[in-house]
């Protein structure tokens, strides 16, 4: 079994993003997706803090302090980019203008529920940021995450045990072991598997029933 590396997961997501889409990439592996979109394919990146047309990190010594992404890292702007304020930025998100949002998650349920912001109901000071807006607002929500937690618990589940971020929002999940569509009324459908991974091995590491396509 040869699980996808983080870079391979990001590349796998990037492969599925067509030219012309407006895309918001969350913190972590999702951010790495940008590096895997070929330069000639125009995908327009959105950042919650009021940027469209975000480009890669600047070379050292060329950092513009006025230009950071949602993770507060320095970025650049591509020709054709634009700036706007937070209410306009979330109007784009909530109004369904983003073709895609890619987020990390603690858990995804077979009905598309996502939990990615708080680890318990008692964790009353978690950091939600823009996750709920993005999950509820984008036309499509894809999740990129490890297939299981560090201690081996499945993250694809029948029902989320962590506090929810949004109901029924996820349409696709990329893990280090495979790619899954979340199909209404059916659940997780295996679209792709990492090299050497069998359906049985995948099912064993998942907390919900997996389906084969068709």
């Amino acid at each position: 079994m040869k699980p996808f590396s983080r870079a391979e997961m990001a590349a796998r997501v990037a492969r599925d993003i067509p030219e012309g889409w407006y895309v918001n990439l969350g913190i972590g592996i999702p951010t790495m997706v940008a590096d895997h979109v070929p330069a000639e394919r125009e995908v327009i990146l959105h950042s919650e803090n009021g940027i469209l047309g975000m480009g890669p990190a600047p070379p050292p010594g060329k950092v513009d302090p006025w230009l950071v992404n949602a993770g507060k890292q320095p970025v650049t702007l591509r020709p054709g980019g634009s700036f706007f304020h937070h209410a306009d930025s979330f109007a784009m998100i909530r109004g369904g203008h983003l073709d895609l949002c890619v987020l990390g998650a603690f858990e995804v349920a077979e009905n598309g529920d996502i939990a990615n912001w708080a680890t318990s109901e008692n964790d009353t000071a978690p950091a939600v940021g823009g996750a709920m807006d993005l999950a509820a607002g984008a036309k499509r929500l894809w999740v990129v995450m490890e297939h299981t937690t560090k201690d081996g618990r499945p993250k694809l589940v029948e029902k989320c045990s962590y506090p929810l971020t949004a109901l029924g929002a996820v349409s696709r999940v990329y893990t280090n072991l495979g790619v899954f569509d979340v199909v209404k009324g059916r659940g997780f459908v295996v679209v792709d598997m990492a090299p050497g991974v069998t359906f049985e091995a995948l099912q064993e590491r998942s907390g919900a029933k997996l389906h084969l396509p068709g």
Binding site: E19, Y22, G53, P79, S82, A87, A91, G95, H97
Partner: protein, 226 residues
Amino acid sequence: MINKIVRTMAEAMAGIKDGSTVLIGGFGAVGQPDALIEGLIEQGAKDLVCVANNAGTGRTGLARLMELGRVRKIICSFPRSAGSVVFEELYRAGRIELEIVPQGTLAERMRAAGAGIPAFYTPTGVGTLLAQGKEVREIDGRLYVLERALKGDVALIEAWEGDRWGNLTYRESGRNFNPVMAMAAELTIAQVMHLRELGEINPDHVVTPGIFVDRVIRVDRGPEWA
């Protein structure tokens, strides 16, 4: 390569269906997408619901579209004005529906549609005929009317500059309803005075980011508007 710039009016109008709700920008002649309205007349879609501040004047543009019997309903703030002859004829004859909306509520309902807000409370219109049949609610001791988002299938707008990603700027009071309508429609078509190369518009000066715009067509309104 993303290229939202179209060269012909037929391309600009492609796919507009009968029964569409069409948002039409402008305030009087200023920022009014004359060429796109002519394009829509030519294109042929009928049974339209048109949303605009006014109900057309004279016998051209929106008034012509109405006169041709292509407009089922008009949603506007100010239907009766100097020269709104076609509207008045049709209205008296019972051949056009009318929904009057206070101007600020009209703008906010479209902004809400664009921003994913399905409904909001507003103090405008409380206790008036225009609040009849609407939910009224007291919040912190004041009465408010619940108003619903107003979404368009199509927006026809006018802008000053546009690029191939659909970024737009406006000129002076030509801005008016145009940026709001651009947000609120499934298909937003902009006529612009000037095409710019990508990156030529200062990113701090973009008013409508391209995410809200689907097609851009250059229309020179002539030297008096230059």
